[in-house]
Amino acid sequence: MSEFLQQLLNGISMGAIYALIALGYTMVYGVLRFINFAHSDVFMVGSFAAFHVAPRLGSGAVAGGMAILCVAMAASALLGMAIEKLAYKPLRGRSTLTVLITAIGVSLLLQNVGQKVFGAEPKAFPAIFPSRTFHLGTVVVNSTQLVTIATTLLLLAALHVVVHHTRVGIAMRAVSFNATAASLVGINNDRIISFTFALGSALAGAGGVLYALNYPSIDPLMGTLPGLKAFVAAVLGGIGNLAGAALGGLVIGLVETFVSGTRLSTYRDAIAFGILIAILLFRPAGLLGRDRVEKV
């Protein structure tokens, strides 16, 4: 039982990180209908930004940790907007394949520039939040997991407010439903797309910091695997669906964690891709995805 609770906790905190990354994939898909493969590298840059500002912002205290997290999110948001402006915006109206190939190119570019700028060898990520361990019976709870889960919940709540209760957030949903109709009510689609990249990238940046807290060794290629799994999470939840991305992240995190606790643990990374293939075969619209109701 306590083994189960332990794995459950581990799974939720892993799933929280996948959820944060998955949201960016799904939001960008919503407005531009393509998968931004460079998203996983924005996640990587988020952890490096935190790594570099940590010595200056007083790591180890809650306030310092929050400040570092905010800087990492801001840096990621700027990077996401820059990528969109420089790489994707000039391709507006081109085929999805063209944009997808460009995204892969941007991803490789970021990884290579990352190796040049940050160095290819792994760096030890500092404990930017106070670190403690609690024992609840036989379950070990470390504060990093609590920080991960609490931060994620906070960000999800903030995202919910933005998307449902602000003008720009509702405009984002409008653009993702019908970009033409959105422009006919006066929405400048380019601005909303840019905002979407900023929002998704900020969440990926937060994910990068939380991931580095849990696995405190960072390198410029670190984004690939979590990025792919978060992509699977987004597809699992129903690509374009925000709640679905969060749920998909949680499911992938839990499944992966529980699988690692069994004899199949060597297949933990393969599991996510098994799930991807299964969804594409049996439920292409994802868990929460459904066919749109459009009346004529």
């Binding site: 509702i170 959105a182 400048n188 749109r292 009346k295 004529v296």
Partner: protein, 235 residues
């Protein structure tokens, strides 16, 4: 108010409009009639900035707006209710209406417009918390018109507002269109396959055939024109 001068529009290799010219004066209701594929929708899309003409000019209030992006034209006072309505099905009725006022910052004024739209289409107020995708076709048409009104336009273009709607409701929607023109002083350019009804509420009309204007006259004259009667008014 609107002056379209000799515009040609194409989609890739296909030419949809060959030198279309028309004008709509302030306060008028003008109808554009024509068969399927004649280029009616394309004409409206060119005016509202959704497609760029290959040649020709479009003037709005005497200003050359050719090539302006759609969102900028909304700010200039032009609204377009597109073919197929295009309501945001994933947003509630109220959110759709508020999006219509996307560019307006004065909350009190926006709320006043909302009240006005609800008076014109009381059904929308009853349904305001409902996702727009769950509305009936007629209600979606009301919502599309209401959303356009929320931008407080001076010039409104409607593309086939009667499409797929029960005759009784069509009549009521046309009555609202007349009111919007008369009471709110909004100039209207109407595209309709239901030419009978459209000409009855309009002052003037144009006939579009395969991308060219073939007739321009008062609505009364068009209704009496044997060619028009034969082709568009069911004899």
């Amino acid at each position: 108010m609107l002056e379209v001068q000799d515009i040609s529009v194409g989609y890739g290799a296909i030419a949809a409009l060959h030198g279309v010219s028309l004008r709509v004066g302030a306060g008028e209701i003008v109808t554009l009639i024509g068969g399927n594929g004649a280029g009616k929708t394309t004409t409206l899309r060119a005016v509202s900035g959704l497609v760029k003409p290959r040649s020709g000019r479009i003037l709005f209030d005497g200003r050359d707006i050719t090539g302006w992006p759609a969102h900028r034209l909304v700010a200039a006072g032009l609204a377009h209710v597109p073919e197929g309505r295009m309501v945001f099905a994933n947003l509630t009725v109220l959110e759709n209406l508020r999006m219509g006022a996307y560019l307006r910052r004065d909350r009190a004024e926006v709320n006043r417009s909302l009240g006005h739209v609800y008076r014109v289409f009381p059904r929308l107020e009853e349904r305001q918390a409902q996702p727009a995708g769950t509305l009936s076709g007629g209600e979606q048409q009301m919502l599309a018109i209401g959303r356009a009104l929320m931008s407080k336009p001076r010039f409104l273009m409607l593309d086939e507002p009667s499409l797929g709607i029960a005759p009784l409701l069509v009549k009521s929607i046309f009555e609202r269109i007349v009111e919007i023109n008369r009471d709110d002083g909004i100039t209207i350019l109407l595209v309709e396959q239901n030419a009978n009804l459209a000409l009855r509420v309009s002052g003037r009309g144009y006939v579009l055939e395969t991308g060219r204007i073939t007739l321009a006259d008062t609505a009364a004259a068009l209704q009496d024109n044997p060619q028009v009667r034969g082709a568009y008014l069911g004899g």
